[in-house]
C-alpha cells in the first residue's frame, strides 16, 4: 500500500518521489528498472539500473499510471525512468491555472 505523502527514493539514481495518490493493494514501484526504497532506507549494494529504463525523471513533474489512479510527485530528478513493474509511468499534464487567488 502506497500511502499519500509517503516518500520513496531510487535505489540506482538520484530520483525521489512523494505519493500523491494510490489505489489500494501492492504496487511494484520502480525507478531505473529496480524497486524503489523508503526515503530513509539504506541503498542496497550491488544493484544496477536497467539500461531500458534510463529515460530520467524531472523534478516538479507528476507521474501517473494509465488510468491516473496512481500519482507521484517527483521531488528530486534523476536518470532512471519511473515505472510500475515494467510499465513506465507518464508525465501528467500541468495543472490548470487558477482563475484567481
Amino acid at each position: 500500500m502506497l500511502k499519500p505523502g509517503a516518500r520513496f527514493k531510487s535505489a540506482v539514481c538520484e530520483t525521489q518521489v512523494m505519493v500523491v495518490k494510490s489505489p489500494p493493494g501492492e504496487h511494484d514501484l520502480r525507478c531505473g528498472g529496480v524497486p524503489m526504497i523508503g526515503a530513509n532506507d539504506p541503498a542496497p549494494a550491488n544493484v544496477q539500473a536497467d539500461a531500458a529504463f534510463a529515460g530520467g525523471s524531472l523534478i516538479g513533474k507528476r507521474y501517473v499510471n494509465a488510468d491516473e489512479s496512481l500519482e507521484l510527485l517527483c521531488t528530486r530528478g534523476g536518470a532512471g525512468t519511473l515505472s510500475l513493474g515494467a510499465t513506465p509511468l507518464k508525465v501528467k499534464q500541468a495543472k490548470q491555472l487558477p482563475s484567481s487567488d
Binding site: K3, P4, G5, M18, V19, V20, K21, L58, I59, G60, L73, T75, Q93, A94, K95, Q96, L97, P98, S99, S100, D101
Partner: protein, 462 residues
C-alpha cells in the same frame, strides 16, 4: 542622520508626506531623479488606507473595518507617483496607487472575511505551533491534500482546519511547498532591511545618460492573474506596446474569472497564443522574447528552462532587453520553486502578524495585496530600466515588496505599534471608510490568440 532616522523624524512631524517620502526612496534606490515634481496625494496614511477600500476589506465579517498600522496604501500611492514622475507627462492623470489595491474586490463585490481572504481562497489556520496561511484556489490543490496532510481525502475547509491543527508548522510548510501548494508561515516582519527589488546589473546613472531611448518600447507579457498583467498595463499607459503571450493549452486563468477584471488589466494588449508543447511554437516564443524591449514573466524558473528559455542567453543576444521576473519569494534555490499568491505571500511578509499585534485579531488584510503592490513596483523598475537602455534582469518577490512596505516607517516597539493603531483608527470617521473602487475597463480584452498571426507576421516569425 541615517536615512531610517530621517524618515521617522520627517513622517512623525508630517505624516501626510508619507507617500512622497516613499516615492523618493524608491527613486533613490533606482539611482534616479524625478523628471517632474512628485505629486502623490498629500494624505495621512490612515486616510489613504480608508480611501483605498482596503480598510473596508479588513476585519471580521460582522465586526468593524480595521486600520492597518503600516502605511501600505500610502506606499502604493508613492510607487505610482514615482512612476508618474519618470513616465511621459499625464500618463497617470486621475489615477492613484492606493485605489489600484482594491480594484479586484470592487469588481467581485468582495467583503471582509476575518481570517479568510475576501476571495475565500486563502485562510489563516492554527497549527500545533503557530499559524500558517494556505491558498487552495485550483481544484487540483484539493487533490494534493491527502499527500500534504497524510490522510484520506479532505473535502472542505473545516476538515483542513482540523487536520492542520494537529500538525507541526515546519513540516506543513516544507511539505506543502514541495507539493506545489501555496503555504506560508504567519511570521513577524523581519528586522534586517529587505530590498524591494534585485537588479542585475544594478542601476547606475552613467549608463542611463548614455542611452535614453526615444521610441515606444515593446513589452512581451508572459504573466497571468494580477501582478504581472497590472505591471504591463501600467507600462501600456506609459506608451508601451504590450503583447500578451499565453499558452494555448494553459491560458491565463483570469480569463475564466469576471470579464470586467480581465478587461481592466488586459484591454488594448495584443493576444498571442502558442502551443508550448510544439517545438516550432517554442522557437517562435524564444524569437519573440529575443526581440522584445521588456519581458514580464512570473513563471517558475524551471518551467522556463523546460521550455528552452534561458534568461542570460536572451540578455546576451539582445543587449537592450529588460527582463522582469516576478516570483513569490525570489530567485535561487529552493525559494524560486515555491508557489505564492497575493494573500499568502503577504502573510509570510508579516502583515497578518502585525495586524494581530495591533488588533488582537487573526486577519487577512486587504485583497491579495501583494499582487497589485508588486505590479506597481515592477512597473516602476521596468520603466526605469528601459529608460536607462535596458540590459538588465529585474527580480521582484511578492513577499519582499510587502516586507519592504511593512518596514517603511515601522514603529520600534509593540507599544508604539498599538499607540499608532489607536491614533490612526481614531482619525477615521465611519463614513470615511470607502468601499473598494475600480476604474472602468478601457475596452474589451482580445480573445485568446486573436493577434497571433498578425504579431508573428510583424516579427517575420510566421
Amino acid at each position: 542622520m541615517a536615512p531610517a532616522q530621517e524618515c521617522r523624524a520627517t513622517l512623525s512631524a508630517r505624516p501626510e508626506e508619507t507617500a512622497a517620502v516613499y516615492a523618493r526612496r524608491l527613486l533613490a534606490s533606482l539611482d534616479l531623479d524625478p523628471a517632474r515634481p512628485l505629486e502623490p496625494p498629500a494624505q495621512h496614511p490612515a486616510q489613504a488606507w480608508a480611501e483605498s477600500g482596503l480598510m473596508a476589506l479588513t476585519g471580521l465579517p460582522d465586526g468593524a473595518p480595521q486600520m492597518c498600522p503600516a502605511p501600505l496604501a500610502a506606499c502604493a500611492d508613492g510607487a505610482l507617483a514615482a512612476l508618474a514622475a519618470i513616465a511621459p507627462p499625464d500618463a497617470f492623470t486621475g489615477l492613484r496607487g492606493a485605489t489600484l489595491l482594491g480594484e479586484r474586490a470592487a469588481i467581485r463585490h468582495l467583503t471582509r472575511s476575518g481570517a479568510a481572504s475576501p476571495s475565500g481562497g486563502c485562510r489563516l489556520l492554527a497549527t500545533r505551533d503557530g499559524a500558517i496561511a494556505v491558498s487552495l484556489v485550483r481544484d487540483d490543490d484539493w487533490a494534493l491534500l491527502p499527500a500534504w496532510l497524510e490522510c484520506e481525502a479532505v473535502g472542505d475547509w473545516e476538515a483542513v482546519r482540523t487536520r492542520v491543527a494537529h500538525a507541526g508548522l515546519h513540516d506543513l510548510v516544507e511539505r506543502g511547498r514541495e507539493l506545489g501548494l501555496a503555504v506560508a508561515p504567519d511570521v513577524p516582519v523581519p528586522t534586517p532591511a529587505v530590498p524591494w527589488l534585485r537588479a542585475d546589473p544594478p542601476f547606475s546613472r552613467r549608463q542611463r545618460v548614455a542611452a535614453a531611448p526615444r521610441r515606444a518600447p515593446c513589452v512581451v507579457d508572459l504573466s497571468s492573474l494580477w501582478a504581472g498583467p497590472l505591471c504591463a498595463q501600467l507600462l501600456q499607459r506609459c506608451g508601451a506596446r504590450v503583447i500578451k503571450v499565453e499558452s494555448l493549452r494553459r491560458p491565463d486563468g483570469a480569463r475564466r474569472g469576471p470579464a470586467a477584471f480581465f478587461d481592466l488589466l488586459n484591454a488594448g494588449k495584443q493576444s498571442v497564443a502558442l502551443d508550448f508543447s510544439d517545438a516550432r511554437d517554442r522557437a517562435r516564443l524564444r524569437a519573440l522574447l529575443a526581440r522584445a524591449d521588456l519581458v514580464i514573466e512570473a513563471s517558475r524558473p524551471r518551467a522556463l528552462r523546460q521550455l528552452g528559455i534561458r534568461v542570460p542567453e536572451l540578455l546576451d543576444e539582445n543587449p537592450r532587453l529588460t527582463w522582469v521576473t516576478i516570483t513569490g519569494y525570489g530567485l535561487g534555490e529552493p525559494q524560486e520553486n515555491w508557489i505564492a499568491y497575493g494573500d499568502d505571500a503577504a502573510v509570510n511578509a508579516g502583515l497578518s502578524y502585525l495586524m494581530r499585534q495591533a488588533t488582537g485579531l487573526r486577519l487577512i488584510a486587504g485583497d491579495a495585496i501583494a499582487d497589485p503592490l508588486t505590479g506597481l513596483h515592477a512597473a516602476l523598475a521596468a520603466w526605469a530600466s528601459w529608460m536607462g537602455g535596458g540590459g538588465r534582469r529585474l527580480s521582484l518577490a511578492l513577499c519582499d515588496v510587502v516586507r519592504h512596505g511593512l518596514q517603511f516607517d515601522r514603529p520600534d516597539s509593540v507599544a508604539a505599534l498599538r499607540a499608532r493603531q489607536r491614533e490612526w483608527t481614531a482619525r477615521i470617521a465611519p463614513e470615511a471608510v470607502r468601499p473598494p473602487q475600480a476604474r472602468a475597463p478601457a475596452g474589451r480584452a482580445q480573445a485568446l490568440g486573436a493577434d497571433t498571426a498578425a504579431v508573428m507576421a510583424a516579427f517575420n516569425l510566421a
